[in-house]
Amino acid sequence: MSGFDRREFLRWSLAGAAGLAASSPKLAFLQPVAVDNPLEWYPDRDWEKIYRDKFRYDSVFHFTCAPNDTHNCLLRAYVRNGVVVRTGPTYAFGKATDSYGNEATHRWEPRCCQKGLVLPRRFYGDRRVKQTMVRKGFRDWVRAGFPRDPETGKPPEKYFKNRGQDRWLKATHEEAYELTALALMNIAETYSGEKGAEYLRKQGYDPDSVAVMEGAGTQALKLRGGMPLLGLTRLLGLVRNANMMALLDDHIRKAGPEGSLGARHFDNYSWHTDLPPGHPMVTGQQTVDVDLSMAEKSRFITLWGMNWISTKMPDAHWLTEARQRGSKVTNITIEYQSTANKADDVIVIRPATDHALMLGVAHILMKEKKYDDGFVKSFTDLPCLVRTDTLQYLRASDIIRGYSPSPLRNYAAVVKAGEKPPVPMKQPTQYVSEEMRREWDDVVVWDARAGRPRAIGRDWVGGRFKDLGIDPALRGRYKVTAVDGSQVEVRPVFDILEEYASYFTPERVSEITWAPAEAVRALASDLARHKGSTFFAVGMGPNQFFNASLKDRGIFLLAALTNNIGRIGGSPGSYAGNYRVALYNGLPQYIAEDPFNVEKDPGKPANVKAYLRFESAHYFSHGDKPLRLGNKLFTGKTHMPTPTKFLWFANSNSIIGNAKWSYDLVVNTIPKLEAIVMHEWWWSMSCEYSDVVFAVDSWGEFKHPDLCGSVTNPFNQVFPRSPLKRIFDTVGDIDVFAGVAGSLSKLTGDRRFEDYWKFVYEDNVGAYLERIARASSTLKGFTFKEIEARALKGIPTMKNLRTYPKVVGWEQTNEDKPWYTKTGRLEFYREEPEFIEHGENIPVFREAIDATFHEPNVIVAGKTEALRPLSPGDYGLRADDLSTETRQVRNLVKTWEEIRGTRHPLTKDKSYRFLFITPKYRHAAHSMPIDVDMITVYYGPFGDLYRHDRRKPWIGESYVNMNPADARELGIEDGDYVWIDADPEDRPYRGWKKDDPDYKVARMMTRVKYYSAIPRGVLQMWHNMYQATHGSVRGHETNPSGLARNPETNYQSIFRYGGHQSCTRAWLGPTLMTDSLVRKGVFGQQIGKGFAADIHCPVGAPRESFVKVTKAEDGAVEGKGLWRPAALGFRAGYENEMMKKYLKGQYVD
């Protein structure tokens, strides 16, 4: 019988039985099983509708998922019975166009990730901020009429000492608007004028900090939209809000539109230590990066501490597809991480020594003359002459009497005093003030053909320089005659750098970095073979160390030597954070609208006037003070912070909950704050320590549209208005700004507060976005309405940048335009006094400030004439003072041979022996959504949905990666709990004591994971965590389940005790606080100098510390014996016999 015939026969013969079964389910159970061959045929398949029903949905809508992850995916939500049941990609990115009709390709599909797909669990989750909450003590203080100590102005301690342990009260949004407005008024008023300044000095604030307030109490108000690019109106609304506070100042001090000051706004990109601080030092531009889709144009891709596969997930395929297309990938890393399995070569180095490796490679390229001579001479300052006496550039006016600086005609123009450049969109050139142009003068090269110095105009870059026919010397020492007749010795920058780099021989580099010398040579030879087609992708790894700016200068040096800047396929790129608000350079229309002169016609442009000031949040995390040590204040005037008395932030867990040194903030700094107001939709650690938590809409519920963009992809991402009904009692972030402004209007009688948010009240937020669109060079050609209409269908649009893929610097290299520097060239030499003083006039390699086995922060150098830093004695400090604070300004120069025998000061206690670093990982973007059940359970090896072990803080938990040999030496087994302690001088917080209740909360306990992918002596823990709080510890110890969940707030910690930030602290780099560095401003083409938020300011060092590890408890359930998977022999280091065979592939032959 053929299969077909028999199948047919069975079908017929069983039809009767099946019919009977369908009519009587009970009877069906009793039917004999009548399936002959289930490969062929099955009788009753009606049940299959179960899954068709489960899959069914009623409708879809689109929304943008935008944690701070640089992707921002427009997602599709599937709705059933009014509930979002799941989310997915839109598959419409390939339909995106720019306003010229250029199309993206379907290779951008699908865009989403696991964090976006668990969002329904978060929209409806039990840790949603379901209504606005107010801390009891704070409300009582406000209701009591803001009592204060008449001497110091301090509020009574009783209202604030309970922060983090207090009761929370439900409030209506309106009550909370009023509380916030009252606190704003009272605090600003208290700290205004001479009386306010006196209070602040008595409270112990730095007098320079108090002085820069200029008497305006509003300057003690600090606002921060969490990564503002993630919401142009929603989060940058806090910038606008800060500008509005000038009205409050006017109300208090009656200073009028001319004399009033707004609030301060904290930085973001630099606060997250995402800024590569050396980029502006070389290019004048905030950051050089490229769309990640460029990768396949690069024949050689080098990754520097960039775990692309884990941290750029929707764009990971650009790397693997480049490799499919034949590109070579070399991964420079401190471990064999996820990206290592996508690389051809993997070079494992000691943490924080990337720059030494770069210098070693640069040395080979220079010595063997494998650099691109033409690029080096025409686009960089490497041929420019430096005076050996002053260590500054030789200026044309030094040698030519009456020299006047060359006119600027190559995409640059001088702005006369009193003139203003046009708005960014209408700017064809760079703009430089007359004063700066005079200061810069012109640099000089040694014309080797003519045998004399030649002044080089700033315009003469690239082809324009080549056309002059000058062959500048790169090496040698020359004498020039100064205008005063004296002889001055000069050297090209190249010569100085080569002298310095020559110390970094492959063998010495190998000792410093641990990388085999063979790897250094291979990297140099690969680079030499890939001029113009090498991608230097730099990640957070090397970026988040104290000396990060130096490695940036090193990367640019390698890129410049190999003609890999500004090329499609050849470029550096720094990848950390999503930051560039300048992508929408019409933003001043919104964030800096003049509050004294509000334009009420939505069709007309706003009047722009900035009253707010910016400030680095690093001072706040540094005990709310600048860096003053010995006899010197190291913080530049342009950077000077003010005291922080009121903190208002949105969409961010990074300013308290995931802040560097967060327990120091909690114990020592925030008790001095008088109000902490935040917006959230998910209860984070930052909420735990706030006073007012506004319940705001989740990303799926936005009732007002918004816009964001990203630095790694070409798209504009709209948050279209959502049709989803609000799930809880929430409002939009922008409604909160308007609501508080409304209360301020009521309380002050000044309607202008409310008018400032007029379009919010009229439900016309789109009007603000249209203003931004009309004024932004990347959006012009689109209306916001048009791009929102596309987004409603799941289709993004492309930014109208100059190129796709975007390559920052493309115009400079391909159209011979100047960079945003003094010389117009890429500058590898820094002549400003701050740089010379700290030994960073050349890009030196320094040991890490904490994560090193050796003496910290020492400059490593052989004989280098051009290094003349000040010594500790010059600052009135002891040379042997290695305490954490003074270490920051300790500029000792030593040879490697002197350093390698030294030890980190903590090693006096032998148990201190580990570098501790906390990079990011795949399971969360910062801390979002780490505590969502299905994410936590996949977060490493300890996820257990049924929590067999009640010690577990949650259904998964934090862990530290440790080399098994290190663990064994300390008697620690895989899966054990341990304590991790950093420098007891100041961590987990200054002034801790063993029996302190705060210490119990702040000291880190975690589990050990045996991890043979990391070298001995290095410990690694992921940054993406919810740390222990006073409430979670109380929960862990009192909940019968043992859950580390705050019984008062439901906050869920992933640690039992402490957290990864128990080991970090705030660090302030002196060369990041200069008043002299020339750099482009945030928006448009204007060049300025000194502090600029997110461009030139401190970045801290969140990834480094030096620690000890102590065993706490066994890993098996309830703490007795070995963790089960290890005991069963399935873990590395514990392999049973079958595992051993399996690993060798011995089950087949």
Partner: protein, 377 residues
């Protein structure tokens, strides 16, 4: 118990099986490119959120991604089965050892074991943990001396499913129209013989409902011409759904047939188990071949060579470029003038995509709009 002989092309011989061989009209299949998998678990969450949000399903991941060699879900699943089977042998590309059906103990359909509940804890154990130890300073080149890779797993919708073979109630069947293997949720009584027999441990027992469940290959989507949830959410763009033909009927315009039969670049998982599984893996190019041969059979070296040749081969590169580009099933493909096109079964174009990304340079000054376009804004 197995009494019939069925032909399994993956091991180039007949094997014992309880039922007569019967291939469906079309066979659901997929290719997973391990060289692109990033272990992001987006597929896992897509599947979880779509299918297993109910009571008793908490621990179930019909789709999961595990790091090899130390990742398992459930704990030690493949090691345990390989050990039960004992060392086996390939003779060239023909399997000379025992399949799980041939090694079945008396009274059972297949060799297998029932995991303990606790074995399903720690679903991401072994994540990123390598074979070998990194030194203080290391330089690792291909083949990597220290290695790991990611293995994404769903039900293989086998041609000869062990779950189906083992079910005492015959409540598991293979759909004739698409070869998808299902557990009848109404008829299953939870004997767990399928859980024991499936060597891939892709059937899960639900303690609350008392029945077993498994990956359904998203048939409600497949019936609409769409690829599965784990495939359409795969941001690593490692996956492609398709119909696989037996080798003698291979159609070079069918992307699955092209990759599996024509180029032999994609291989089945543990073919020696004898189930003729229908998820095909492009093996990782950086891993030593002894381990890979144990996992994917003797074709690994050839497959790696094929994959490495794609950069100079527009047809192969073209079909690989189509991964992830569309939600719809791609029944046929063509590559012409640097553009890869996918078509549905009716020959209608589903997607077109250039193999190399375009470059656009926009005008510096747009006179009409009076705006300057910069990359530095």
């Amino acid at each position: 118990m197995p009494i019939n002989r069925v032909y399994n092309w993956q091991i180039k011989r007949e094997t014992a099986y309880p039922f007569e061989g019967a291939r469906p009209d079309r066979q659901f299949a997929a290719v997973f490119d391990i060289n692109k998998c990033i272990a992001c678990q987006t597929c896992t969450m897509a599947c979880k959120q779509t299918w297993t949000t109910g009571k008793g399903q908490e621990y179930m991941f019909w789709n999961n991604v595990e790091s090899k060699p130390y990742g398992f879900y459930p704990l030690g699943w493949d090691v345990r089965l390989l050990e039960m089977l004992g060392p086996q042998r390939w003779e060239g590309d023909k399997y000379a050892g025992k399949t799980i059906f041939e090694a079945a103990p008396r009274g059972k359909a297949a060799q297998g074991y029932l995991p303990e509940e606790y074995d399903y804890a720690y679903p991401n154990i072994g994540e990123d943990e390598p074979m070998g130890e990194v030194g203080r300073g290391d330089y690792i080149t291909i083949p990597h001396r220290i290695w790991h890779f990611y293995l994404a797993r769903i039900c293989n919708h086998c041609t000869y499913p062990a779950c189906l073979a083992a079910c005492p109630r015959k409540a598991i069947y293979k759909r004739q129209e698409d070869g998808i293997v299902l557990v009848d949720q109404k008829r299953c009584r939870g004997y767990r013989e399928c859980v024991r027999a499936c060597p891939y441990k892709r059937v899960f027992f639900n303690k609350v409902t008392g029945v077993s469940e498994k990956c359904i290959a998203c048939y409600p989507k497949v019936e609409e011409g769409l690829q599965t949830q784990c495939i359409t959410t795969c941001i690593g763009r490692i996956r492609l759904n398709g119909w696989i033909s037996p080798p003698e009927k291979a159609d070079p315009e069918n992307p699955l047939d092209y990759l599996v039969h024509v180029r032999k670049a994609a291989l089945p998982l543990f073919p020696q188990f004898g189930l003729e599984p229908n998820v095909y893996y492009i093996p990782p190019v950086h891993v030593n071949s002894a381990y890979l041969k144990q996992m994917f059979g003797p074709g690994v070296e050839h497959a790696v060579r094929q994959y490495r040749s794609a950069s100079a081969d527009d047809t192969l590169l073209g079909v690989l470029t189509l991964f992830g580009c569309a939600e719809q099933w791609i029944a046929k493909f063509k590559v012409s003038k640097g553009v890869a096109s996918g078509y549905d079964a009716a020959g209608k174009a589903v997607v077109k995509v250039p193999i190399k990304e375009p470059v656009y340079v926009r005008p510096f000054y747009d006179e009409k709009l009076q705006v300057y376009r910069h990359n530095i804004t």
